[in-house]
Amino acid sequence: MTLVEMIWTSSAALLTLFTFSYLYKDNPFYKFAEHLVVGVSAGYFAIILYYGSFVPKVIDTIFKQGWWYYSIPAALGILMWTRFSKKFSWISRFSLAFYMGIAVGVSIPLTLQNYVLKHLVETTRPINFTSLNGIWQFLVVVFVFSTLTYFFFSREHKGAFGVSAKLGIGVLMIAFGAGFGLTVMGRVSLLAERVLFLKDYLVELKYFLYMLFKYGILL
């Protein structure tokens, strides 16, 4: 590891420790790390947007290639900035209307197809009881039905309907439990990666200092 790499890795290790210090209590070191992340992310995104979108889609197209019709969406984009003025903020509604119209028009049929109809088709497929998959499919149908009954509020949850609604709550609890379990797994993964990073860093640091003091070499 070169000196420059060691400096950068040491900064990363230090910032990791700053962030972990929040577990004890809030402190200025944590605040520094937090603000640094927010600042760096915002700055990085601004640059990426400018060079990845604004330059090729506005400057290059209009001024270099002479495609004047690109100035229409560019003007709509610039109009969005009027939201900062109380007097002229109404102008931004033209851009918003245009954007929302397209977004809603594109997304409604696709969302209905991919988030409702395809799942409905899969749930209402004929059940083959002779296989294990068929039994799972049957359970899916029962659980979907019971969960839907739980959200049916026009009738009191009593009798067979109440039993179904109670089963629905159970199904929801299992789903939340699975979500929580996966969340714990995800968070522990982040911790494990950081701990391994710190461990590897300490090994590198030990070797670096050894080389430095024994041979006076900066690799």
Binding site: L23, Y24, S41, Y44, F45, I48, L49, G52, S53, P56, V106, S107, L110, T111, Q113, N114, Y115, K118, H119, V121, E122, V140, A175, A178, G179, L182, T183, V184, M185, G186, R187, V188, S189, L190, L191, A192, E193, R194, V195, L196, K199
Partner: protein
């Protein structure tokens, strides 16, 4: 205050301390020559993603979407790296995009490092397109024609100048898409990409997201699902068995002992917390 009441009002920092001990313990054991190896149970949903890439032939083209930023790097980098290694080892060509706003630099680092290991060249063996905002629209655009949103690749080369892109017009000319995602981008791939243009799609998502995508697996809208670091460990395990990578290259599998120890502590605290809750409730009655 009784024992159970004290248990219920336990300072959260004790829990952090126990988790920290559980996390450090496997590392210390390894240092003292007692390595803990936990072979992962391979789930069918992770295996189907692996098998899909395994069955690709040399010169086939895969679209790999790296849609996460450094905050999800710990969970998703291992699987993205394993997929790239598998593709490069098989001479499968890869087109890569990065539609997460803070991810393009990180993705470039991953791609260039892995490409260097296998002597792969940008434009011939892989193409890195980079980032464009509004993922839904970009995905729709790439499904029709890459040049609509990416007339140039990440490095500024015009797409038509890249030998690999001469016969490839859109994602529909590839064998399929594997989206390694943290956040909403996975939904855009399901809805605006595969849902509209009917190409095979698999997801590798963070642990937090995984539960939300199982219904899509069941309905056949995605053909595989790799869940968080555990899924990545499964993928690495399969890749190592078939010789795509070495055990020394494992990233996710290194974390598995730590993960297991931490999970045991969390489970213990959940059990203790519940005992405390019910016992203190019973006492009050």
């Amino acid at each position: 205050m009784g024992f159970y009441d004290r248990l219920m009002s336990l300072d959260r920092r004790w829990i952090y301390l126990f988790v920290a001990i559980a996390v450090v313990l496997p590392i210390l054991l390894e240092e003292f020559g007692i390595p803990i190896s936990i072979p992962p149970y391979v789930t069918p949903e992770a295996k189907s993603v692996y098998t899909f890439v395994h069955k690709l032939q040399p010169d086939d083209v895969l679209f790999l979407a790296i849609d996460y930023d450094p905050m999800a790097m710990a969970e998703l980098h291992p699987v993205a790296r394993a997929i790239l290694r598998q593709c490069f080892k098989k001479d499968v060509r890869v087109i890569i995009s990065a539609l997460s706003q803070n991810g393009p630099g990180m993705a470039e680092q991953l791609i260039s490092q892995t490409a260097k290991e296998y002597n792969k060249v940008n434009g011939i063996d892989y193409v890195y397109l980079g980032y464009k905002p509004y993922p839904g629209i970009v995905i729709m655009g790439m499904s029709q024609n890459f040049k609509l949103f990416f007339p140039k690749d990440y490095y500024g080369n015009p797409l038509e100048s890249l030998p690999m892109m001469r016969k490839i017009r859109s994602i529909q000319d590839t064998k399929g898409v594997i989206d390694v995602a943290a956040g909403m981008v996975a939904d855009y791939w399901i809805n605006d990409g595969a849902g509209r243009y009917n190409y095979p799609l698999a997801l590798a998502v963070t642990g937090v997201m995984a539960a939300d995508y199982y219904p899509f697996l069941n309905s056949g809208q995605i053909f595989g699902l790799v869940s968080g670091m555990k899924g990545a460990a499964e993928y690495e395990y399969l890749a190592e068995k078939d010789g795509y990578m070495k055990k020394e290259d494992f990233i996710a599998n290194r974390s598995m002992p730590i993960q297991t120890f931490a999970h045991v502590v969390v489970i213990l605290f959940i059990v203790i917390g519940n005992i405390g809750y019910f016992m203190s409730k019973r006492k009050k009655v």
